[in-house]
Point group: none
Chain length 235, copies 2
Protein backbone atom coordinates (compact mmCIF):
# COMPACT_ATOMS: atom_id res chain seq x y z
CA UNK A 1 0.00 0.00 0.00
CA UNK A 2 2.99 2.22 0.36
CA UNK A 3 3.84 2.65 -3.29
CA UNK A 4 0.63 1.95 -5.08
CA UNK A 5 1.30 2.47 -8.72
CA UNK A 6 -1.19 5.00 -9.88
CA UNK A 7 -1.23 6.69 -13.25
CA UNK A 8 -2.58 10.01 -14.24
CA UNK A 9 -4.70 9.60 -17.38
CA UNK A 10 -5.99 12.28 -19.70
CA UNK A 11 -8.67 13.10 -20.75
CA UNK A 12 -11.25 12.64 -18.05
CA UNK A 13 -13.44 10.08 -19.69
CA UNK A 14 -10.43 7.95 -20.47
CA UNK A 15 -10.41 6.31 -23.89
CA UNK A 16 -12.18 2.96 -23.49
CA UNK A 17 -9.40 0.83 -24.92
CA UNK A 18 -6.83 2.60 -22.81
CA UNK A 19 -8.89 2.15 -19.68
CA UNK A 20 -9.49 -1.50 -20.40
CA UNK A 21 -5.84 -2.11 -21.13
CA UNK A 22 -4.74 -0.47 -17.91
CA UNK A 23 -7.27 -2.42 -15.91
CA UNK A 24 -6.21 -5.68 -17.46
CA UNK A 25 -2.60 -4.84 -16.73
CA UNK A 26 -3.42 -4.45 -13.09
CA UNK A 27 -2.51 -0.77 -12.95
CA UNK A 28 -4.45 1.65 -10.89
CA UNK A 29 -5.13 4.93 -12.58
CA UNK A 30 -7.16 8.05 -12.33
CA UNK A 31 -8.41 10.25 -15.12
CA UNK A 32 -8.27 14.00 -14.75
CA UNK A 33 -10.14 16.69 -16.53
CA UNK A 34 -7.56 19.41 -16.86
CA UNK A 35 -4.78 21.41 -15.34
CA UNK A 36 -7.02 22.93 -12.72
CA UNK A 37 -6.85 19.68 -10.85
CA UNK A 38 -3.09 19.76 -11.01
CA UNK A 39 -2.73 22.57 -8.55
CA UNK A 40 -4.81 20.74 -6.05
CA UNK A 41 -2.72 17.66 -6.50
CA UNK A 42 0.52 19.57 -6.15
CA UNK A 43 -0.62 21.12 -2.90
CA UNK A 44 -1.80 17.84 -1.53
CA UNK A 45 1.54 16.35 -2.30
CA UNK A 46 -0.10 13.77 -4.48
CA UNK A 47 2.25 11.98 -6.77
CA UNK A 48 1.78 9.56 -9.60
CA UNK A 49 3.86 6.76 -10.87
CA UNK A 50 3.49 8.26 -14.30
CA UNK A 51 1.16 9.96 -16.70
CA UNK A 52 -0.53 8.77 -19.86
CA UNK A 53 -1.88 11.53 -22.01
CA UNK A 54 -4.03 10.90 -25.04
CA UNK A 55 -3.35 13.63 -27.54
CA UNK A 56 -5.28 12.19 -30.44
CA UNK A 57 -8.58 13.78 -29.53
CA UNK A 58 -7.94 17.12 -27.86
CA UNK A 59 -4.35 17.79 -28.82
CA UNK A 60 -4.08 21.32 -27.49
CA UNK A 61 -5.35 20.45 -24.04
CA UNK A 62 -3.16 17.38 -23.98
CA UNK A 63 0.03 19.26 -24.73
CA UNK A 64 -0.85 21.91 -22.25
CA UNK A 65 -1.24 19.27 -19.61
CA UNK A 66 2.12 17.81 -20.53
CA UNK A 67 3.65 21.22 -20.20
CA UNK A 68 2.15 21.60 -16.76
CA UNK A 69 3.41 18.23 -15.70
CA UNK A 70 6.89 19.10 -16.85
CA UNK A 71 7.03 22.33 -14.95
CA UNK A 72 8.55 20.76 -11.93
CA UNK A 73 5.72 21.49 -9.56
CA UNK A 74 5.07 17.81 -9.62
CA UNK A 75 8.10 15.59 -9.62
CA UNK A 76 9.14 14.65 -13.12
CA UNK A 77 7.52 11.43 -14.00
CA UNK A 78 7.44 9.06 -16.94
CA UNK A 79 5.15 10.63 -19.44
CA UNK A 80 3.59 8.64 -22.27
CA UNK A 81 1.51 10.27 -24.96
CA UNK A 82 -0.92 8.72 -27.36
CA UNK A 83 -0.92 10.25 -30.79
CA UNK A 84 -2.52 9.39 -34.07
CA UNK A 85 -0.40 8.65 -37.05
CA UNK A 86 -1.05 12.08 -38.51
CA UNK A 87 0.37 13.75 -35.41
CA UNK A 88 3.82 12.25 -35.70
CA UNK A 89 5.24 15.46 -37.07
CA UNK A 90 4.01 17.37 -34.05
CA UNK A 91 6.30 15.37 -31.82
CA UNK A 92 9.50 16.92 -33.08
CA UNK A 93 8.80 20.34 -31.67
CA UNK A 94 7.58 18.92 -28.39
CA UNK A 95 10.38 16.59 -27.53
CA UNK A 96 10.69 17.88 -24.02
CA UNK A 97 7.07 17.18 -23.21
CA UNK A 98 7.09 13.41 -23.21
CA UNK A 99 9.27 10.40 -22.53
CA UNK A 100 7.68 7.98 -24.93
CA UNK A 101 4.79 7.86 -27.36
CA UNK A 102 2.54 5.27 -28.90
CA UNK A 103 0.44 5.47 -32.03
CA UNK A 104 -3.29 4.95 -31.92
CA UNK A 105 -4.87 2.59 -32.44
CA UNK A 106 -2.37 0.70 -30.36
CA UNK A 107 -1.89 -2.91 -29.58
CA UNK A 108 -2.55 -3.56 -25.88
CA UNK A 109 0.63 -5.47 -25.49
CA UNK A 110 2.67 -2.68 -26.96
CA UNK A 111 1.18 -0.29 -24.46
CA UNK A 112 1.97 -2.65 -21.68
CA UNK A 113 5.52 -3.09 -22.88
CA UNK A 114 6.05 0.66 -23.11
CA UNK A 115 4.67 1.23 -19.64
CA UNK A 116 6.90 -1.45 -18.23
CA UNK A 117 9.93 0.04 -19.89
CA UNK A 118 9.12 3.52 -18.68
CA UNK A 119 8.68 2.28 -15.15
CA UNK A 120 11.89 0.38 -15.34
CA UNK A 121 13.73 3.45 -16.50
CA UNK A 122 12.16 5.58 -13.81
CA UNK A 123 13.04 3.06 -11.15
CA UNK A 124 16.68 3.28 -11.99
CA UNK A 125 16.57 7.00 -11.54
CA UNK A 126 16.87 8.91 -8.35
CA UNK A 127 14.15 7.75 -6.07
CA UNK A 128 13.33 9.95 -3.10
CA UNK A 129 14.84 8.61 0.03
CA UNK A 130 12.08 8.02 2.50
CA UNK A 131 11.25 6.03 5.57
CA UNK A 132 7.73 4.92 6.32
CA UNK A 133 5.72 2.93 8.79
CA UNK A 134 2.00 2.46 8.60
CA UNK A 135 0.37 5.80 7.85
CA UNK A 136 3.60 7.65 8.57
CA UNK A 137 5.88 8.72 5.78
CA UNK A 138 9.03 10.73 6.19
CA UNK A 139 10.76 12.27 3.23
CA UNK A 140 14.34 12.76 4.22
CA UNK A 141 15.08 15.06 1.33
CA UNK A 142 12.28 17.52 1.75
CA UNK A 143 12.15 17.14 5.52
CA UNK A 144 8.45 16.59 5.21
CA UNK A 145 6.37 14.27 7.29
CA UNK A 146 2.92 13.08 6.35
CA UNK A 147 0.42 10.88 8.12
CA UNK A 148 -2.49 9.52 6.12
CA UNK A 149 -1.37 11.81 3.33
CA UNK A 150 -1.84 14.81 5.57
CA UNK A 151 1.35 16.84 5.93
CA UNK A 152 2.61 17.47 9.42
CA UNK A 153 4.29 20.64 10.57
CA UNK A 154 7.04 19.29 12.74
CA UNK A 155 9.90 21.11 14.36
CA UNK A 156 13.45 19.92 14.00
CA UNK A 157 13.64 17.82 17.14
CA UNK A 158 10.18 16.38 16.63
CA UNK A 159 11.15 15.34 13.16
CA UNK A 160 14.40 13.77 14.29
CA UNK A 161 12.68 11.87 17.06
CA UNK A 162 9.95 10.60 14.78
CA UNK A 163 12.51 9.63 12.19
CA UNK A 164 14.48 7.61 14.67
CA UNK A 165 11.44 5.83 16.00
CA UNK A 166 10.06 5.16 12.54
CA UNK A 167 13.39 3.83 11.39
CA UNK A 168 13.25 1.23 14.15
CA UNK A 169 9.60 0.32 14.44
CA UNK A 170 8.51 -1.96 17.24
CA UNK A 171 11.69 -1.58 19.22
CA UNK A 172 11.57 -0.09 22.66
CA UNK A 173 14.04 2.63 23.54
CA UNK A 174 14.81 3.92 26.96
CA UNK A 175 14.89 7.64 27.47
CA UNK A 176 18.61 7.50 27.89
CA UNK A 177 19.02 5.74 24.59
CA UNK A 178 16.80 8.24 22.87
CA UNK A 179 18.75 11.11 24.35
CA UNK A 180 21.95 9.54 23.16
CA UNK A 181 20.87 8.60 19.68
CA UNK A 182 18.53 11.46 18.83
CA UNK A 183 19.85 14.33 20.88
CA UNK A 184 23.39 13.09 20.82
CA UNK A 185 24.62 13.94 24.24
CA UNK A 186 25.05 11.97 27.41
CA UNK A 187 22.04 11.70 29.59
CA UNK A 188 22.32 14.03 32.51
CA UNK A 189 19.18 14.74 34.40
CA UNK A 190 16.71 15.60 31.65
CA UNK A 191 14.59 12.53 31.19
CA UNK A 192 11.44 14.60 31.05
CA UNK A 193 12.67 16.16 27.85
CA UNK A 194 11.84 12.98 26.00
CA UNK A 195 8.41 12.79 27.54
CA UNK A 196 7.54 16.26 26.49
CA UNK A 197 8.67 15.73 22.94
CA UNK A 198 6.76 12.51 22.70
CA UNK A 199 3.74 14.35 23.97
CA UNK A 200 4.09 17.04 21.32
CA UNK A 201 4.54 14.43 18.65
CA UNK A 202 1.44 12.59 19.72
CA UNK A 203 -0.53 15.78 19.66
CA UNK A 204 0.56 16.57 16.12
CA UNK A 205 -0.07 13.02 14.96
CA UNK A 206 -3.68 13.57 15.80
CA UNK A 207 -6.10 11.80 18.05
CA UNK A 208 -6.48 8.79 15.81
CA UNK A 209 -2.79 8.10 15.49
CA UNK A 210 -1.48 9.29 18.81
CA UNK A 211 -1.27 5.69 19.95
CA UNK A 212 1.31 4.95 17.30
CA UNK A 213 3.89 5.95 19.85
CA UNK A 214 3.39 3.66 22.78
CA UNK A 215 4.83 4.01 26.23
CA UNK A 216 6.27 0.92 27.81
CA UNK A 217 6.00 1.52 31.45
CA UNK A 218 9.24 1.62 33.40
CA UNK A 219 11.16 1.17 30.16
CA UNK A 220 10.59 3.81 27.54
CA UNK A 221 8.81 4.35 24.25
CA UNK A 222 8.29 2.49 21.04
CA UNK A 223 6.51 3.07 17.77
CA UNK A 224 3.85 0.84 16.28
CA UNK A 225 3.50 -2.92 16.39
CA UNK A 226 0.13 -2.98 18.08
CA UNK A 227 -2.10 -0.58 16.30
CA UNK A 228 -5.04 -2.97 16.13
CA UNK A 229 -5.21 -3.63 19.81
CA UNK A 230 -8.38 -2.45 21.49
CA UNK A 231 -8.65 1.05 20.11
CA UNK A 232 -11.63 1.98 22.31
CA UNK A 233 -10.78 5.59 21.74
CA UNK A 234 -14.25 6.43 20.56
CA UNK A 235 -17.32 6.96 22.71
Amino acid sequence: MADEESFLVFPDPAPPDLARCLDLGGYSWKSWAGDAALDRAAEGGETWTGAIVAADTDADAAWMLCRELRRGDVPTEPLLVLVSGSQLDDLESRSELFDDFIITPFHPRELEARIRHLLWRAGRGSRPELVAYGPIELNLETYQAVVDGRPLDLTYMEYELLRFLTSNPGRVFTRETLLNRVWGYEYYGGARTVDVHVRRLRAKLGEEHSNLIQTVRSVGYKLGQSRWKEPSAES
Copy 2:
Protein backbone atom coordinates in the same frame (compact mmCIF):
# COMPACT_ATOMS: atom_id res chain seq x y z
CA MET B 1 27.00 20.27 -34.36
CA ALA B 2 26.31 19.03 -37.85
CA ASP B 3 28.74 16.28 -37.06
CA GLU B 4 28.10 13.23 -39.13
CA GLU B 5 25.29 11.28 -37.57
CA SER B 6 26.13 7.68 -38.12
CA PHE B 7 24.12 4.77 -36.90
CA LEU B 8 25.13 1.23 -36.26
CA VAL B 9 22.64 -1.08 -37.88
CA PHE B 10 22.17 -4.78 -37.35
CA PRO B 11 22.14 -7.21 -39.11
CA ASP B 12 24.66 -6.81 -41.88
CA PRO B 13 22.38 -6.89 -44.81
CA ALA B 14 20.17 -4.30 -43.25
CA PRO B 15 16.45 -4.85 -43.64
CA PRO B 16 15.42 -3.14 -46.86
CA ASP B 17 12.69 -1.01 -45.40
CA LEU B 18 14.92 0.08 -42.56
CA ALA B 19 17.72 0.98 -44.94
CA ARG B 20 15.41 2.90 -47.21
CA CYS B 21 13.89 4.76 -44.31
CA LEU B 22 17.25 5.79 -42.95
CA ASP B 23 18.42 6.93 -46.34
CA LEU B 24 15.29 8.97 -46.88
CA GLY B 25 15.73 10.54 -43.46
CA GLY B 26 19.21 11.69 -44.40
CA TYR B 27 20.95 9.59 -41.80
CA SER B 28 24.21 7.90 -42.51
CA TRP B 29 24.51 4.41 -41.21
CA LYS B 30 26.60 1.31 -41.43
CA SER B 31 25.50 -2.24 -41.01
CA TRP B 32 27.59 -4.67 -39.04
CA ALA B 33 27.68 -8.39 -39.07
CA GLY B 34 28.17 -9.24 -35.45
CA ASP B 35 29.98 -8.66 -32.23
CA ALA B 36 33.38 -9.49 -33.66
CA ALA B 37 33.35 -6.18 -35.40
CA LEU B 38 32.60 -4.42 -32.16
CA ASP B 39 35.99 -4.98 -30.67
CA ARG B 40 37.62 -3.46 -33.67
CA ALA B 41 35.39 -0.49 -33.45
CA ALA B 42 35.99 -0.03 -29.77
CA GLU B 43 39.71 -0.15 -30.25
CA GLY B 44 39.61 2.24 -33.12
CA GLY B 45 37.67 4.66 -30.97
CA GLU B 46 34.85 4.67 -33.43
CA THR B 47 31.64 5.98 -32.04
CA TRP B 48 28.11 6.07 -33.31
CA THR B 49 25.31 8.42 -32.79
CA GLY B 50 23.21 5.45 -31.94
CA ALA B 51 22.38 1.90 -32.79
CA ILE B 52 19.40 0.32 -34.44
CA VAL B 53 19.12 -3.38 -33.92
CA ALA B 54 16.59 -5.53 -35.71
CA ALA B 55 15.70 -8.39 -33.44
CA ASP B 56 12.83 -9.80 -35.46
CA THR B 57 14.98 -12.07 -37.61
CA ASP B 58 17.92 -13.27 -35.57
CA ALA B 59 16.83 -12.49 -32.06
CA ASP B 60 19.64 -14.18 -30.19
CA ALA B 61 22.38 -12.46 -32.13
CA ALA B 62 20.56 -9.18 -31.82
CA TRP B 63 20.28 -9.32 -28.06
CA MET B 64 23.86 -10.38 -27.78
CA LEU B 65 24.89 -7.37 -29.78
CA CYS B 66 22.83 -5.13 -27.52
CA ARG B 67 24.53 -6.66 -24.56
CA GLU B 68 27.90 -5.91 -26.07
CA LEU B 69 26.92 -2.37 -26.81
CA ARG B 70 25.83 -1.91 -23.24
CA ARG B 71 28.95 -3.38 -21.76
CA GLY B 72 30.45 -0.03 -21.12
CA ASP B 73 33.37 -0.18 -23.50
CA VAL B 74 31.43 2.18 -25.65
CA PRO B 75 29.53 4.91 -23.90
CA THR B 76 25.87 4.08 -23.61
CA GLU B 77 24.17 5.30 -26.69
CA PRO B 78 20.63 5.53 -27.84
CA LEU B 79 19.67 2.02 -28.69
CA LEU B 80 16.58 1.21 -30.69
CA VAL B 81 15.44 -2.32 -31.31
CA LEU B 82 13.04 -3.62 -33.88
CA VAL B 83 10.85 -6.43 -32.70
CA SER B 84 7.92 -8.28 -34.08
CA GLY B 85 4.65 -8.26 -32.28
CA SER B 86 5.22 -11.72 -30.93
CA GLN B 87 8.45 -10.65 -29.24
CA LEU B 88 6.88 -8.04 -27.02
CA ASP B 89 7.04 -10.28 -24.01
CA ASP B 90 10.76 -10.73 -24.45
CA LEU B 91 11.31 -7.08 -23.77
CA GLU B 92 10.47 -7.24 -20.09
CA SER B 93 13.46 -9.31 -19.17
CA ARG B 94 15.77 -7.22 -21.33
CA SER B 95 14.88 -3.75 -20.16
CA GLU B 96 18.45 -2.76 -19.69
CA LEU B 97 19.40 -3.62 -23.25
CA PHE B 98 17.55 -0.93 -25.14
CA ASP B 99 16.28 2.61 -24.88
CA ASP B 100 13.30 2.34 -27.18
CA PHE B 101 11.66 -0.20 -29.41
CA ILE B 102 9.46 -0.26 -32.46
CA ILE B 103 7.24 -2.99 -33.79
CA THR B 104 7.70 -4.41 -37.26
CA PRO B 105 6.37 -3.78 -39.73
CA PHE B 106 6.79 -0.16 -38.79
CA HIS B 107 5.60 3.03 -40.30
CA PRO B 108 8.55 5.04 -41.65
CA ARG B 109 7.42 8.16 -39.92
CA GLU B 110 7.18 6.41 -36.60
CA LEU B 111 10.75 5.24 -36.98
CA GLU B 112 11.82 8.73 -37.82
CA ALA B 113 9.99 10.15 -34.85
CA ARG B 114 11.56 7.63 -32.50
CA ILE B 115 15.03 8.31 -33.81
CA ARG B 116 14.52 12.01 -33.43
CA HIS B 117 13.31 11.60 -29.89
CA LEU B 118 16.18 9.36 -28.97
CA LEU B 119 18.68 11.81 -30.37
CA TRP B 120 17.02 14.65 -28.59
CA ARG B 121 17.15 12.78 -25.31
CA ALA B 122 20.78 11.88 -25.80
CA GLY B 123 21.74 15.44 -26.56
CA ARG B 124 19.64 17.95 -24.75
CA GLY B 125 17.77 15.44 -22.73
CA SER B 126 20.15 15.52 -19.84
CA ARG B 127 20.72 19.23 -20.12
CA PRO B 128 17.53 21.20 -20.07
CA GLU B 129 17.81 24.80 -21.15
CA LEU B 130 14.78 25.86 -19.22
CA VAL B 131 14.05 25.13 -15.60
CA ALA B 132 10.84 26.23 -14.02
CA TYR B 133 8.90 25.86 -10.83
CA GLY B 134 5.59 27.51 -10.19
CA PRO B 135 5.81 31.14 -11.26
CA ILE B 136 9.58 30.94 -11.60
CA GLU B 137 11.19 30.41 -14.96
CA LEU B 138 14.91 30.37 -15.57
CA ASN B 139 16.29 30.54 -19.05
CA LEU B 140 19.70 28.98 -18.83
CA GLU B 141 20.73 30.25 -22.24
CA THR B 142 19.94 33.90 -21.85
CA TYR B 143 20.66 33.86 -18.11
CA GLN B 144 17.34 35.48 -17.48
CA ALA B 145 14.91 34.82 -14.72
CA VAL B 146 11.26 35.69 -14.71
CA VAL B 147 8.57 35.34 -12.11
CA ASP B 148 4.94 35.67 -13.15
CA GLY B 149 6.24 36.78 -16.51
CA ARG B 150 8.01 39.71 -14.89
CA PRO B 151 11.74 39.66 -15.57
CA LEU B 152 14.03 39.70 -12.57
CA ASP B 153 17.30 41.53 -12.40
CA LEU B 154 19.44 39.03 -10.61
CA THR B 155 23.14 39.12 -9.99
CA TYR B 156 25.34 36.18 -10.82
CA MET B 157 25.29 34.55 -7.43
CA GLU B 158 21.61 35.15 -6.96
CA TYR B 159 20.92 33.51 -10.28
CA GLU B 160 23.10 30.53 -9.51
CA LEU B 161 21.50 30.05 -6.14
CA LEU B 162 18.00 30.31 -7.54
CA ARG B 163 18.89 27.96 -10.35
CA PHE B 164 20.19 25.35 -7.99
CA LEU B 165 17.19 25.55 -5.73
CA THR B 166 14.76 25.52 -8.62
CA SER B 167 16.49 22.55 -10.17
CA ASN B 168 15.86 20.58 -7.02
CA PRO B 169 12.48 21.78 -5.84
CA GLY B 170 11.29 20.65 -2.47
CA ARG B 171 14.61 19.38 -1.32
CA VAL B 172 16.21 20.89 1.73
CA PHE B 173 19.82 21.94 1.57
CA THR B 174 22.03 22.86 4.46
CA ARG B 175 24.03 26.03 4.21
CA GLU B 176 27.14 23.97 3.98
CA THR B 177 25.77 22.00 1.06
CA LEU B 178 24.71 25.17 -0.69
CA LEU B 179 28.16 26.66 -0.21
CA ASN B 180 29.69 23.56 -1.70
CA ARG B 181 27.33 23.10 -4.61
CA VAL B 182 26.56 26.68 -5.53
CA TRP B 183 29.63 28.56 -4.46
CA GLY B 184 31.85 25.62 -5.13
CA TYR B 185 34.32 25.86 -2.35
CA GLU B 186 34.52 24.40 1.07
CA TYR B 187 33.82 26.97 3.62
CA TYR B 188 33.14 26.85 7.28
CA GLY B 189 32.27 29.84 9.34
CA GLY B 190 30.62 32.03 6.74
CA ALA B 191 27.32 30.26 6.67
CA ARG B 192 25.54 33.57 6.96
CA THR B 193 26.56 34.31 3.43
CA VAL B 194 23.82 31.98 2.34
CA ASP B 195 21.32 33.74 4.56
CA VAL B 196 22.07 37.07 3.07
CA HIS B 197 21.77 35.85 -0.49
CA VAL B 198 18.53 34.14 0.31
CA ARG B 199 17.31 37.36 1.76
CA ARG B 200 18.25 39.31 -1.35
CA LEU B 201 16.61 36.70 -3.52
CA ARG B 202 13.43 36.83 -1.50
CA ALA B 203 13.40 40.60 -1.77
CA LYS B 204 13.70 40.46 -5.54
CA LEU B 205 11.10 37.75 -5.83
CA GLY B 206 8.66 40.22 -4.40
CA GLU B 207 6.45 40.16 -1.38
CA GLU B 208 3.97 37.73 -2.85
CA HIS B 209 6.52 35.12 -3.80
CA SER B 210 9.13 35.56 -1.12
CA ASN B 211 7.77 32.49 0.61
CA LEU B 212 8.78 30.33 -2.31
CA ILE B 213 12.10 29.93 -0.59
CA GLN B 214 11.35 28.41 2.75
CA THR B 215 13.65 28.13 5.69
CA VAL B 216 13.68 24.86 7.53
CA ARG B 217 14.79 25.75 10.97
CA SER B 218 18.00 24.12 12.15
CA VAL B 219 18.43 22.55 8.74
CA GLY B 220 18.63 24.95 5.85
CA TYR B 221 16.58 26.24 2.96
CA LYS B 222 14.34 24.76 0.33
CA LEU B 223 12.26 26.00 -2.56
CA GLY B 224 8.57 25.35 -2.92
CA GLN B 225 6.57 22.30 -1.94
CA SER B 226 5.10 24.28 0.86
CA ARG B 227 2.02 23.17 2.64
CA TRP B 228 1.27 26.59 4.07
CA LYS B 229 -2.31 26.29 5.13
CA GLU B 230 -2.10 29.96 5.95
CA PRO B 231 -5.12 30.59 8.18
CA SER B 232 -6.66 33.27 6.02
CA ALA B 233 -4.79 36.14 7.56
CA GLU B 234 -5.23 38.03 4.30
CA SER B 235 -8.48 38.89 2.57
